[in-house]
Symmetry: C2
Subunit: 345 residues, 2 copies
DNA sequence: TCAGCTTATGGTAGCGCTAACATCATGTCA
DNA sequence: TGACATGATGTTAGCGCTACCATAAGCTGA
């Protein structure tokens, strides 16, 4: 069972390979009669064009790479859906890579896809160290768009959700409910999102005349275990906080794990607010959060990339999408009038 | 900025392209001295091998495709992690495709990757109609391994989790807790997992002398909305069931949505059991479920595939992995002694 | 009638790489 | 010493496809 090539089709249709190629690629300048004969031959032989060979000639594989730091985080899978949907519409196949928040895996991935000659790369960085990763595609002249997290020293397109203002609002919401010892469990400093969210946190405190206490700001990797560990440390303090702002959904779960273990009820004993909504939950939505439009973010990122692939050489662009606040129960909003409960969450 | 090719490296190292190729591919028969000179030249020029060109010659791209029906289902993302981890170890890059439970998208994907000349395909079928999808890689001689769900008429390798026995045990657990009107919200008949789980459901009923009532078996797509719709119908009945077996996690969420909307408490008014654990939850694990070893399933599937890629031509193999029961609160196990609560969930 | 255009089709070369064989310099043993 | 292995390197051809130019045939208008 030898593979069917364009030459086989050409022989059967009694035309040159060139003509078959024209039919395959939908070029004009082929008479209807010939086109039909060729199409017939393709079907008869079960011809499947070889995109690798084509890619070698036209230097365009029709594949885009998307690298995200955590496949199990619903935020990133939503992003991936957005990217994939629009990429497929534009005729591209997407390679999805998972760096597991590890700079080495990320670099290995980017090297692999660069050597595969993908046409473009969307990277949600795993944190510091992405500079080395990015060198691979950039050296090849492969366009790169950053997603969600910025990378120091990279001057290119970037799509992200608004973090600072949303963080400030979340924390202000807590303050308005009477909390004045508010801790933050932030992500790794390498993640620009963590830095932005810390910025909003401190802005809210400052704006309301609350002193920033460094002991109440703790950082961990964006994982449930990390949130758990830092929250335990916070809750062990004599002057423990009455509210915690977790910088992402996984951290929030960890915080709640710790609270439960300490016998603290959320929100009565500890209020919790966070980033990124998680729709998959066995119960009514519970966490008050700032919900980034993940799917739209993915679409925005690939929009930027497709423009580059169309030959756009304008200066780097940044797309920032608005983040929506979802006030629910974990922040203790039960103190609000009941009418309010009906309209939100 | 022209792309650096093997010829450029060869010129700089004053050797033939062939020798560079040997160095790149780690072949023997290159003197240490030459090897060092070539490596030096590669670094100096920033050479990145072109896998597309290589793929054209050796007819092996080093890419595997994984197609799953739902990227937002944690079960499948866990599977994907398993596949990816082991594939990367073996030097392959994985293309992840999401068919969204849609046979057409699935077929489009398989056609795309077949034409990309991927080396192998792992498919978690979207249901009936996957025969057409599979024709693409098979015609090309690309090995295929099925995952989780079987496809009628496909006679090849298959990796899946045990469904029948686990389903029977789940339902028997309900029966032993005194339930005798137990409904099932199953998946689409096209999914072999749905058929297997129905089998287990009926076996449990029969084994305990309970009549199978067709009105209590309803089917929906594997979505939250589907589970919600069918559960509403079930709960509207005069003789509404006291327990529901949902065939997967999304269906279970839908069932619980419906229960909540009807003012029914789980498990007090309605017991719920399901398949596939969801670790991401804002609360203590709640759903009693049969937990398939998703990551191990992914690894098993790719193990089968790698064997084929190594030239294994033995008859098709099926790998079935055991499924673990996790008894938690949603089934009403609070009726059990408290000591039990401490050891499980 | 023919220059000058358009349209359909074919021929040639080459994308970047490697399989397969060829070549050449050494080393080994009787 | 020569027959013969062994190892390092080069040469040639070709993977399947398409860019580019060539060719041939049909058509227009003066």
């Amino acid at each position: 069972m030898r593979r069917v090539t364009i030459a086989d089709v050409a022989r059967r249709a009694r035309v040159s390979p060139m003509t078959v190629s024209r039919v395959v690629n939908g070029s004009d300048h082929v008479s209807d009669q010939t086109r039909r004969r060729v199409e017939r031959a393709m079907v008869d032989l079960g011809y499947i064009p070889n995109r690798v060979a084509r890619g070698l000639v036209v230097n365009k594989l029709g594949v885009l790479a998307l690298v995200i730091p955590d496949l199990s985080n619903p935020f990133f899978t939503k992003v991936a859906r957005g990217v994939e949907a629009r990429a497929n519409l534009a005729g591209y196949t997407v390679i999805l890579g998972n760096s597991d928040e590890d700079a080495h895996r990320e670099e290995a991935y980017l090297r692999a896809v660069s050597s595969l000659q993908v046409d473009g790369v969307i990277l949600a960085s795993s944190g510091r160290g992405s500079g080395a990763s990015l060198a691979w595609p950039l050296r090849r002249g492969i366009p790169v768009v950053l997603l969600d997290r910025e990378v120091d020293g990279f001057d290119g397109d970037f799509a992200h959700g608004e973090s600072r203002r949303a963080s400030r609002l979340l924390v202000e919401h807590l303050i308005e409910h009477g909390h004045h010892r508010i801790a933050m469990v932030s992500g790794p400093l390498g993640a620009s999102t963590a830095r932005d969210r810390e910025h909003g946190y401190r802005a809210a405190l400052g704006h309301h005349g609350l002193r920033f206490d460094p002991a109440l700001l703790r950082r961990a990797p964006y994982t449930r275990a990390g949130g758990y560990r830092e929250a335990l440390a916070l809750l062990a303090r004599e002057d423990r906080p009455s509210a915690v702002f977790a910088a992402n959904n996984f951290l929030a779960f960890g915080v709640m794990d710790a609270a439960r273990e300490q016998g603290l009820r959320v929100p009565q004993d500890l209020a919790v607010v966070t980033f990124d909504d998680v729709e998959i939950a066995a119960d009514e939505p519970f966490l008050t959060c700032a919900d980034q439009p993940a799917e739209a973010l993915g679409q925005a990122a690939i929009g930027l990339l497709l423009d580059r692939l169309d030959g756009d050489h304008s200066p780097p662009r940044t797309v920032m999408l608005e983040t929506e606040l979802r006030i629910r129960r974990s922040c203790g909003r039960h103190e609000e009038p009941l009418a309010d409960r009906a309209t939100v969450g």
